[in-house]
């Protein structure tokens, strides 16, 4: 937890004690190997907060990420985040600046399209004759949408922490030794931990032969506007710290010269669309 100290945020003891149980349960029931499930962050809601964990599973060419969530009040039990259909993702995009309430089951009705009348679904009965509620867009869908956005924009890894192996699959570098002091102070040494979007990185991943660390991921320094990320050494000059100002609350640390690094998000889950006025 000392690594998170400069972020000013942390989990309460009840959240940590609950997650300890919930994450072990998820790891065992989903047959995830040790170390593949990690804490991702916390999204503040009005009445309760969401706690999110991410599981990384090897996949070609980029490891796949699966998210699990719970709330502070029920932190001992996690569930998998729902997948988003195109319709749901489009609806979530319209709600992106709306703050979270903290209730996963809270409905956010999709307004009927123009010219279409609202369809009142016939009640469907289950085998006991009880009404099955029709599937609606709920806050957990909104959560899934935001977590995917934040993860794509603000999860950071240092150069060399991930490699392309002989089979051209992106894998975690088990022998990672960290960045030297000077390299750790340069934004160019850090990358988005996502399947690459830039053409340059995509090509590097496809190219046969050894792929140099840093060629196959998108550098965070290319994000616009310049200043979206800030990088600085902590006061003791033993850690490099990165914050995103488009997603305030996104925090990355790297203990210089060691294999210790991590990204965590502790915020309200909302993008800062006012960033152009604020830098």
């Amino acid at each position: 937890m000392e690594f998170l100290a400069p972020s000013g945020s942390g989990l309460s003891i009840s959240e940590r004690a609950g997650l300890d149980i919930a994450m072990l349960q998820v790891r065992q029931s989903e047959n995830l190997p040790l170390g593949s499930l990690s804490f991702w962050g916390r999204i503040k809601g009005k009445n309760d907060d969401y706690l999110v964990a991410v599981a990384l599973t090897p996949s070609y060419p980029f490891p796949s990420k699966k998210f699990y969530y719970t709330t502070t009040a029920k932190s001992e039990k996690m569930s998998q985040m729902p997948d988003l259909s195109e319709e749901y993702a489009a609806h979530a995009a319209t709600l992106v600046s709306k703050p979270f309430a903290g209730e996963p089951s809270m409905p956010y009705p999709i307004p009927p399209k123009e010219g279409e009348e609202e369809v009142v679904a016939e009640p469907v009965l289950d085998e006991n004759g009880e009404e099955i509620q029709p599937e609606v867009f709920r806050e957990e869908h909104k959560l899934a949408y935001h977590v995917a956005l934040i993860d794509g924009d603000a999860t950071v890894v240092p150069r060399g922490a991930y490699l392309v192996d002989a089979a051209h699959q992106v894998i975690k570098n088990p022998a990672y030794e960290g960045l030297a002091y000077e390299a750790a102070g340069q934004l160019r040494s850090y990358f988005h931990f996502r399947a690459p979007k830039s053409e340059r990185a995509q090509k590097a991943l496809e190219k046969p032969g050894v792929v140099r660390a840093g060629d196959f991921l998108d550098p965070i320094a290319d994000d616009v506007p310049a200043g979206t990320f800030s990088l600085y050494y902590d006061p003791s000059n033993t850690m490099a710290i990165i914050r995103s100002f488009y997603w305030p609350g996104a925090y990355f640390y790297h203990q210089i010269g060691t294999g210790n690094y991590g990204s965590v998000y502790m915020g309200d889950g909302l993008p800062n669309t006012d960033i152009q006025f604020m830098l």
Partner: protein, 436 residues
């Protein structure tokens, strides 16, 4: 090619005296010694790593040559020096000063999701204690404001020299937003800087702008409308004034209106002998929490501006703003989408007990937190230092329309008659005649 020949070929040394044979044996040795899980897939990486390690020949330091200093050496040693100063006992005469028991408070911050790290918290405690002894005044920990290249830790104390009565037209003194002084440092052990006093004008402008702090107190604040003071220290002070005034809340009963204050001056004092403590159950209700700092009005003032006795004749007196209520309940605070505070009991659910802390979080100022536990309460702030937009995009204020040209009124129209054109004939210089 026979086996020996092949071996001979692999053993060929390059300019630096390395051979492929040697390299391969090192790689194989590494694989066998370290037994990585998937040696086959890792082969290229292992090979590359060893190349990095062996291509640079280790050199033993030789006498007489200066040692090459690592770049981080100086900055890390500087930090060690600055922070170890905190461990020196400070001499001071003042006996009645108080400073926060930060380690205990930090346990309560944790319930609110705020954590500065245990070690940093202790060092911060040392730093605040030292500052309190040096300043010979009681200090409280106000919180932390995150900047783009560093953070500010803020402590609060009574203002040692508030603006005097002569300045009162433009600045408010101890009866207003300058009741307290604030000192900031970028990390425990760093030098404390006292922030400049704030002005009503600065508060009014600060409300219209939205900026991230840079972490440098001298940084300029480019903004529209132009920010008075122009440096980040002034903006930081103005934001702190607003947060202090709006987010200092406590369970009802700790504070009361100060009757001894001068007429027309609003003041709040702490109740000496507090008896009626609110229970955790009561505090779940926002109407049992009250603001205990004097609110700042739209003009950036806590009190009505003083009346100027020598005012010009005929000048219309400015409209007086209605007095904002003192010790108002937080239940009445509202933001665009509902109440401005969210209250939770920690621990809640199965862990809830009469001793649970009750935490109130501001939705208007994310990061502003109050917590009541036992018979105490704390206020702390840990955030970016600006108010939440709650999903509404920020729009910088518009530039005022261009002022109209002066136009004569009807009365003036009759009285004003245009002069006849005054024509001044230019003096024609005599031209010298030129002979063709």
């Amino acid at each position: 090619m026979s086996f020996e020949e092949a071996k001979q070929y692999l053993r060929q040394e390059d300019e630096d005296g390395n051979s492929l044979y040697e390299h391969l044996s090192r790689v194989l040795l590494k694989v066998i010694v370290e037994k990585p899980q998937n040696a086959n897939a890792m082969f290229e990486q292992l090979s590359q790593e060893l190349r990095g390690a062996t291509q640079v020949k280790p050199t033993l330091p030789t006498e007489g040559e200066p040692e090459i200093a690592k770049p981080e050496k100086k900055s890390q040693l500087d930090w060690c020096g600055a922070v170890s100063n905190l461990y020196a006992p400070t001499e001071g005469d003042a006996t009645e000063i108080t400073y926060p028991d930060l380690m205990t408070e930090a346990n309560v911050y944790e319930w609110a999701g705020i954590n500065f790290g245990k070690m940093e918290t202790y060092r911060l405690y040392l730093a605040i204690k030292q500052k309190a002894v040096v300043e010979a005044r009681s200090l409280r920990f106000w919180g932390k404001i995150t900047g783009r290249s560093g953070d500010y830790f803020v402590v609060q104390g009574d203002n040692p020299n508030p603006p005097s009565a002569e300045e009162i037209k433009t600045v408010e003194g101890a009866e207003g937003a300058n009741k307290y002084a604030f000192w900031v440092c970028t990390h425990a052990g760093g030098t404390w800087t006292k922030l400049p006093d704030t002005t009503p004008e600065a508060i009014v402008v600060a409300r219209q702008i939205k900026r991230f702090f840079t972490g440098d107190l001298d940084a300029p604040v480019p903004s529209y409308p132009p920010f008075p003071g122009c440096t980040e220290a002034h903006l930081l002070r103005a934001q702190i004034a607003m947060i202090t005034s709006e987010c200092s809340i406590s369970p009802g009963g700790f504070y009361a209106e100060d009757d001894e204050a001068e007429e027309g001056i609003k003041a709040i004092k702490k109740v000496e002998e507090m008896e009626d403590f609110k229970s955790a159950e009561d505090l779940k209700d926002a109407s049992n929490w009250v603001h205990h700092e004097v609110p700042i009005n739209v003009n950036g003032r806590c009190n009505q501006p003083p009346v100027n006795e020598e005012e010009e004749e005929g000048a219309e007196p400015a409209d007086e703003l209605p007095d904002l209520p003192l010790l108002g309940a937080i239940a009445e605070d509202e933001i665009t989408d509902g109440p401005a505070w969210s209250i939770s009991v920690c621990p809640s659910g199965a862990g809830e007990s009469p001793d649970s802390a009750v935490v109130a979080k501001s939705l208007k100022w994310p990061g502003a937190v109050a917590a009541a536990f036992g018979n105490k309460f704390i206020n702390v702030y840990c955030g970016f230092g600006f108010a939440s937009s709650r999903g509404v995009s920020y729009e910088p204020p518009r530039v005022p329309p261009i002022q109209k040209e002066w136009a004569p009124t009807e009365e003036d129209d009759k009285g004003l008659i245009e002069d006849e054109d005054k024509i001044t004939q230019p003096v024609v210089e005599e031209e010298e005649e030129e002979d063709g």
